[in-house]
């Protein structure tokens, strides 16, 4: 196990640099002038394009540019993110906690509803409940998340005014910026409680609710499907048949024997889901103007903010590797049949 973990950790730098190299390679499809134009915002600045090319060495061969970037990195400098209006490292530190928080709050309902629906579907395979829950889950997945997002926004902000977009309301934002408020973790709900300000906690939750609800609707389908098929497989296992044969009541069989084992792949999937959600939040964060890492990453990508998108890619790659590792370890811990090697 230890060697396995060590080997996976060795992957980290490889993946991280692979990702950045990938982006650098992609950018070679643009001419130096086009890359220089990324630094200007207006045609009246066109005459400075040659100066910008010279300043950033944009006409250098790719390996030279990559080497310059690497040297910068060694000094802990990920470069200036044009879209975030701050250094890339600071942008990661600013946007990631917000998304982490959002992911956490939508993760819980996804798991609960997903497992519940998935189990019911499997137990009642090919019956109405099964058809209904599958179609329900697929239906929600069947529309782009921004459509759901706009509908949620219209109902719960435009109509009911329960879940406003953004991160905090005006009063809460002003209080958080005041010296009375200490930012311990940058995770707003946690900081609010640590500061003894439950109203800020509630305010932050209200702003998280919209994007979270949207993504719960959309991302649940996968979990329903995995739980269902995993459950189906378990239900055919000998020990379940034995339990049934012993005459145990069906709920006992389902809850005690079957579900516990069926949840193994679900648990594995969950940690992957957590990582997947980090990339899946892009559209919801944009619609709800939630200042998270997904919204920034997409904006940086659309505008080809090179330092921004490389920093973002590297960071998410690291998180993904850790997430996968966690999934593997979790898997091995829960299921003694699995050996990591």
């Amino acid at each position: 196990m230890a060697t396995y973990i060590a080997r996976r950790l060795l992957l980290l730098p490889l993946v991280a640099f692979g990702v950045t190299l990938l982006i650098f390679a992609l950018l070679q499809f643009l001419t130096p002038a086009e890359r220089a134009a990324l630094f200007v915002t207006d045609p009246r600045q066109l005459s400075s394009i040659p100066a910008i090319i010279r300043k950033y060495g944009l006409d250098q061969p790719i390996h030279v540019q990559y080497w310059v970037w690497l040297k910068q990195l060694l000094h802990g400098d990920l470069g200036w993110s044009q879209t975030a209006r701050m250094p890339t490292s600071q942008a990661l530190a600013t946007f990631f906690p917000a998304t982490l928080e959002l992911t956490f709050y939508m993760f819980i309902p996804i798991i609960i509803i997903g497992v519940w629906l998935g189990t019911r579907a499997a137990v009642h395979k090919d019956q109405i409940v099964d058809h209904f829950s599958r179609i329900f889950a697929i239906s929600l997945r069947g529309l782009p998340s921004f459509v759901w997002g706009l509908i949620v926004l219209m109902v719960f902000y435009g109509g009911l005014n329960w879940f406003p977009p953004g991160r905090l309301s005006l009063e809460a934002d002003l209080f958080v910026k005041s010296p009375e408020f200490h930012r311990f973790t940058r995770i707003m709900t946690v900081d609010a409680l640590l500061n003894g300000q439950p109203w800020i906690f509630v305010d932050a939750l209200r702003h998280i609710a919209g994007p979270a609800m949207t993504l719960v609707l959309v991302e649940m389908a996968l979990l329903v499907r995995v739980t269902r098929s995993s459950m189906l497989e378990v239900l055919r296992q000998d020990y379940v048949r034995t339990a049934r044969a012993k005459g145990l009541a069906e709920p006992v069989v389902i809850n005690r024997h079957a579900r516990k084992n069926a949840l193994i792949p679900v648990v594995t999937l969950s940690s992957l889901l957590f990582v997947g959600l980090l990339g899946g939040v892009v559209l919801a964060e944009t619609i709800f103007n939630y200042p998270g890492i997904g919204k920034w990453g997409a904006e940086a990508a659309v505008q080809l903010d090179i330092p921004g998108v490389t920093g973002f890619g590297m960071f998410i790659a690291l998180i993904t590797v850790f997430g996968n590792l966690a999934a593997d370890i979790l898997y091995a811990t829960i299921d003694p049949r699995i050996r990591l090697q």
Binding site: L11, L14, V15, G18, V19, L22, I23, L26, L27, F29, L30, K125, D126, H131, R134, I135, I138, S139, R141, G142, L143, P144, S145, F146, V147, L150, I151, L153, M154, G158, R225, S229, L232, E233, L235, R236, L278, G279, G280, V282, L283, T286, G294, G297, A298, A301, V302, Q303, L304, V309, F312, G313, I316, A317, T320, V321
Partner: protein
């Protein structure tokens, strides 16, 4: 046409449903053919109509095949639903020029015709049965031709991904060792990057256009296929028949193509079916971020993205532009639903572990 009729009349065509459906289809085609407008269009696009008829026959033949596959398929109403939805979409795609004739002056039938450029959508009316979305693009035309686009995007992406996945995955799984290590680390890199953001970078670099969208989705998609195949090959490789083939002196390529791949292909099929639904959604997401197909190109993702300004309606009347959301939304939804149901059906049927459980 003849075979449809024969199939309908033939006693051996087993399920009653099929016969009724066949009869209905014949009546429908007859009625439509009677209308001079339709007749004109049919004459103009003989190839498309031929493809459509061929398809009808193919579906009929497939459905009446006595095999285990179809038998299991027919048992599950959801599988039937999924199958029917997809068949319906294929038919619409084949008949697109008949259902929605491109204007005579059009250079590219995929460009949605529009009258003027008024920004506000207009409701369904004669000539525009589903209304027109922002900038007066005809929704009906867009939905019909968008079906072709959807299949084209899905097919191209899946074919590229599968080809790359097959090649690299089988090399990796079959030979193992250092080659396996290199290929797997490359897939690690691709999988570690959030696919939507990577696709955005690629399209942002390459520029707008459907071909770029397809390429970028394929580039982010292939590693999953490679991984899938590698895993399957690893488990199949040790099986007796492969050993036997090797002992018989078969070459590597032959073993891969004749023994390993056919035995590992089913998770591919299942995954590709699910993936097809997802691809349309990813294309829509790219459109949302401003990087989709060219404006005015018949593409569902673009149509639904155009509706984004209209979902909220106008003050006091939130549903005034319902048609801009409902129609493109409905086709995307049905398309995704169809492929998901079909994927589920494939898995239930093909996965040997699940056999006998139904």
């Amino acid at each position: 046409m003849v075979s449809v009729i024969r199939l309908t009349l033939s006693r051996s065509t087993s399920p009653q449903v099929l016969r009724v459906a066949g009869a209905a289809l014949i009546v429908l085609v007859a009625v439509m053919a009677a209308a001079p407008v339709v007749r004109g269009r049919v004459v103009q696009h003989p190839l498309d109509v031929a493809a459509f008829l061929l398809l009808v026959v193919a579906v009929g033949v497939f459905w009446s095949l006595p095999g285990d596959f179809t038998r299991r398929m027919k048992r599950n109403p959801l599988s039937i639903a999924g199958f029917s939805i997809i068949v319906l979409f294929v038919m619409v795609a084949a008949l697109a020029p008949v259902l929605a004739a491109p204007p005579a002056t059009s250079r590219d039938p995929y460009l949605i015709p529009h009258a003027g450029f008024l920004p506000d959508p207009q409701p369904p009316r004669p000539g525009h049965p589903l209304g027109t979305t922002g900038y007066q693009y005809d929704l009906y035309y867009g939905v019909v031709w968008g079906t072709r686009t959807a299949f084209r995007v899905a097919t191209v992406v899946v074919v590229i991904s599968v080809a790359a996945g097959l090649l690299l995955g089988s090399l990796s799984g079959f030979y193992g060792g250092r080659l396996d290590e290199v290929i797997m680390r490359i897939t690690d890199i691709f999988l570690a990057f959030p696919s939507l953001v990577l696709a955005v970078v690629i399209t942002a670099v390459l520029g707008k256009g459907l071909d770029k969208v397809m390429l970028s989705i394929a580039i982010v998609g292939w590693p999953v296929y490679a991984r899938l195949l590698r895993g399957e090959i690893l488990s199949v490789k040790q099986r007796d028949y492969v050993e036997a083939a090797r002992a018989a002196g078969a070459g590597d390529l032959r073993i891969i193509l004749q023994h390993v791949v056919p035995n590992t292909i089913y998770p591919f099929l299942v995954y590709a079916a699910f993936d097809t639904g997802v691809i349309v959604l990813v294309a829509a997401a790219l459109s949302f971020l401003g990087l989709g197909a060219e404006v005015g190109y018949a593409d569902w993702g673009q149509l639904i993205n155009m509706s984004r300004s209209w979902i909220l309606g106008v003050p006091g009347d939130p549903f005034i532009y319902w048609y801009t959301v409902v129609f493109p939304g409905l086709v995307i939804f049905l398309f995704v639903l169809g492929w998901n149901l079909l994927g589920d059906a494939f898995r239930d049927i093909l996965d040997p572990r699940l056999r006998g459980s139904a």
